[in-house]
Structure formats: C-alpha cells, structure tokens
C-alpha cells in the first residue's frame, strides 16, 4: 500500500535518514521504535509530506508523492497525502473551533461533504472515541487524553487509508495514556492500516503486526514483534529504554 524506497534526509548537512526503505501493507499495524534522535519522527513526517526528503521515493497505491527525489506537482502531493492521516504528539487541534467543527472543517472544505453529512459522521466518530458528549466543547476545555482522542477522530473523518501516529501518548499522564491507547487498540481490531511511532514497548508488542527498529537513520531490525524484540540490538535498546523510564 505504502512504499518508501531509499529515503535520504539531512538537516543542515546532518544526515538523519540514511537510506530507509519500508512498506506498509493493507490492514497492518507497524510500530516504529528506536532511541531518541534515531529519526523516527523525521521518517513519519517525510511520509506525510511534513518534511521534504533529499532523495528517495514514496508512493501510496502506486501514486508517487516523490520519485527519486523529485516531488509531484502540489495538487498531486495533496491527493496522495489525503490517503494518509496524521496524529500529532501534541494534538494540534484548532483551538477556536469546537470539537464538532474541528471534525467537520476539513470534511467540508477538502472533501466537499455537506454540513449534515459531515456532522453525522463526526458524531459517529466521536462516539467511537467515547466523546459524543463533548461535541460542543472547545479543545481548551478538554483533558490531554480527550484532546488526543478528538485528534484521532479528526484524522479518521478524512477516511485515510493509513493512519500515522507520532508518539500519541508521550505528552500525557499514565492514566490518560491508557484511554488513548485503548482507542488505537480498538482501531487495530478493525484492521485499520496504521503506523505508530512509540516508546510504549508493551503496547508495540501487543498491537503491532510488524515492528521496525531504527538506529541512526537506518532500519536495523524489522519483522514480527517476537523476532524483533529478541534481536540483541533491540534488547540493548529496550534495557536502556527501561532505565530511561526509571529516570523520567
């Protein structure tokens, strides 16, 4: 479904992605793990056209966003990216719109859906994330976990083929983390195609069909969770990661 080939990206001469190739297949949940600074966010942002790659190819359903470093025209870029949804670490809801409007705005101005239809769909999605009673609240009135669930519903409203999450819970307290994780877990049961960058190792092991382990801008281990988590390099990382959690 999504195919990335040999992605190269540097920031101010500092290489961050050094030849990444990966695929995301229909109905699959891919967890992307790795040390801080290994380039996980940059990769996900490149796939969603939030950063421009220096070289490489990204295509979805055979439609290229960028081919060998050459980007498609702006209109095609938007069309390709509409197949992707993206959930930010810090939600980025629109603070001046109530929850319902947050969910309907892009449905209406991008997909051209009618108001009633957009609102009906928005309410269904709010129900799915357990927030049907918050339709008229403003983001500033919600807890972080609630905001993140709204953000997930907002992304779903565009009917993306692949939903991407960049550390969706790292801005949240442990209790709030659980409510967001259970929404993502429910989506994985529906066989939604997802890519999740996460530091929640237990969660990655549980929901992911495939785990991608990154180190210094390259993928060093990839495969079924049981295999990847038994890779010695990954074990070293997880050991460290547990220590990090202790310090945090």
């Amino acid at each position: 479904m999504l195919k990335a080939e040999n992605i190269i990206k540097s920031f101010d001469g500092l290489p961050v992605l050094r030849g990444i190739s990966m695929e995301i297949n229909q109905g699959e949940v891919v967890a992307i793990i790795g040390r801080s600074g290994s380039g996980k966010s940059t990769l996900l942002r490149c796939l969603n056209n939030l950063e421009k790659v220096d070289n490489g190819t990204i295509e979805i359903d055979g439609q290229a966003l960028v081919k060998n470093g050459v980007y498609a025209p702006a209109k095609e870029q938007r069309a390709v990216c509409l197949k992707m949804g993206y959930v930010f670490q810090n939600f980025n809801l629109f603070p001046h719109m109530n929850v319902l409007k947050n969910l309907t705005e892009a449905q209406r101005c991008v997909l051209g859906r009618e108001k009633e239809k957009a609102e009906k769909y928005a309410k269904e999605l709010l129900k799915k994330v357990g927030l049907e009673d918050k339709a008229l609240a403003y983001p500033g009135q919600l807890s972080g976990g609630q905001q993140q669930r709204v953000a997930i519903a907002r992304a779903l409203a565009m009917d993306p083929e692949i939903l991407c999450f960049d550390e969706p819970t790292s801005a949240l307290d442990p209790q709030l983390t659980q409510e967001v994780l259970s929404v993502i877990r429910a989506l994985s049961r529906e066989k939604r195609t997802m890519a999740v960058v996460t530091h929640e190792m237990a969660f990655a092991r549980e929901v992911a069909d495939r785990v991608v382990f990154m180190q210094e801008g390259v993928i060093v281990a990839e495969g079924a969770p049981d295999n990847v988590f038994n890779d010695p390099r990954v074990k070293v990382f997880i050991g460290k990661n547990d220590n990090d959690d202790g310090i945090d």
């Binding site: 509409l82 930010f88 629109f94 001046h96 101005c109 991008v110 565009m158």
Partner: protein, 222 residues
C-alpha cells in the same frame, strides 16, 4: 478668560455645527484609513515574512521608513514634495488618506506579523495533513486565531489614529482640528479648542466601546 460662545447659546450652537462638519471629515479620514490600511497591512505582513529577500528587503525598508519618520513629515512630503517628483498631484483629502494609509499599514503589518508568527507551526501542519491548501489553512485556521491575538495592539493603534487624524490639518484638510484652529484665530477665544477636545473624547469613547465589543465576541474560546 473672555467667554464668547459658552455664554451665548446661539453662537455656541453655530460653532458646534461648524465643528461637527469637521468631525465628520475626521470620521471619514479615520474610517477610510482603516478600510485601506488593515488589508494593506496584511499584505505587507505577508511580504515582510517572504522567504525571498527581493520581496522581504524592500518591504522591510518601507516599514522602517514609515515607523522611523514623523507622520506629520510624511503627510507634508506626500502633499508638497511628491508632485515635484511624480507627474501627478493629490488633492488634500486623498493625500491625507494616502499618507495615513501607508503609515498605519506599516504599523498594522508588524502587529499582524507578530500575530501570525506567534501561532504554533503545528496549526499549519494540522491543516496540511487534513488536506487543506495553504490558503484554506490561512483563512480558516490561522486568521481567526490571529484576529484574537492582535485585537489589543490593533485597538491601541486605532485609538492613536483618532488623534493622528489631526495631522491632516498640516495640509489644510478641513477636519476637526483645522476648523477649530480657524475658529480660535477668528474669534480670539480658545473655546473652540475645548469643544474640539470634547468631540475627540467622545469619538474615542465610542471607538473604544466598539473595540471592547469585538474583544468580547472573540472571547468564546480559551
């Protein structure tokens, strides 16, 4: 002090009528300046933030000149000196509007730039990942938030403008200040100034209330 108007209701009423005409010209300068300078200020702000130095450079220079020289000088420059350089001449009133507009646009531009740059980058990105075009994100996501952020500094400028309109008197536009001056010299009494002052205060009071109303309207979130 010799009273010439305040002890004579008929003369006072005549004076008030004359000054009210001036006030209406003042009001026109005020409104036209806002109508032109706010959109122009937005354009200038966008130019000032351009990635291309060929755009950003001249726009920065323009803002620097507008904010770095007295408005009174700019008004006179446009009315008296510009006709010697350019092949056309402004009438007094349009010259004043033009001068105020380009001056206030520079101040508004800096306020808008601050407002736009103060919005987290994530708002642009959220619009983008939802498939919105840049222009859609700007008008639907950024602009409403910018309006709220800039309301206070804009209110300050608007109130300053009420008083700055008096500078049109330097090129003899018949607004409130020049009519009051004329009445003072022809009557050798300062009473017209007192009335003009009261009129400016009332004008400002109304303006301030309108701005407060806008503030309350924009208080629906956060």
């Amino acid at each position: 002090m010799v009273m010439k108007f305040f002890n004579n209701p008929e003369k006072l009423w005549n004076l008030v009528k004359i000054l009210l005409e001036g006030l209406s010209v003042t009001g026109q300068i005020f409104i036209l300046t806002l109508v032109f300078s706010i959109p122009l200020g937005m354009l200038v702000a966008v130019g000032r933030m351009s990635k291309k130095w060929i755009v950003r450079g001249p726009v920065s220079a323009y803002i620097y000149i507008m904010r770095g020289t007295p408005l009174m000088l700019q008004v006179m420059f446009i009315y008296f000196l510009l006709p010697r350089i350019l092949p056309f001449k402004f009438d007094r009133f349009p010259a004043a509007i033009f001068a105020f507009t380009i001056n206030y646009a520079a101040y508004f531009a800096e306020i808008f730039r601050g407002g736009i740059q103060g919005i987290p980058k994530g708002q642009w990105e959220a619009g983008q990942v939802l498939g919105m075009k840049k222009s859609q994100t700007f008008f639907r996501v950024l602009l409403p938030q910018v309006c709220k952020r800039v309301l206070l500094p804009v209110t300050n400028e608007v109130i300053t403008l009420v008083k700055d309109t008096a500078l049109a008197s330097t090129i003899a536009v018949t607004e409130l200040m020049s009519l009051a001056k004329k009445q003072v010299s022809s009557s050798s009494s300062i009473e017209p100034y007192v009335i003009a002052m009261v009129m400016y205060l009332i004008f400002n009071g109304v303006t301030e209330q309108l701005c407060r109303l806008a503030e309350r309207k924009l208080n629906y979130y956060q």
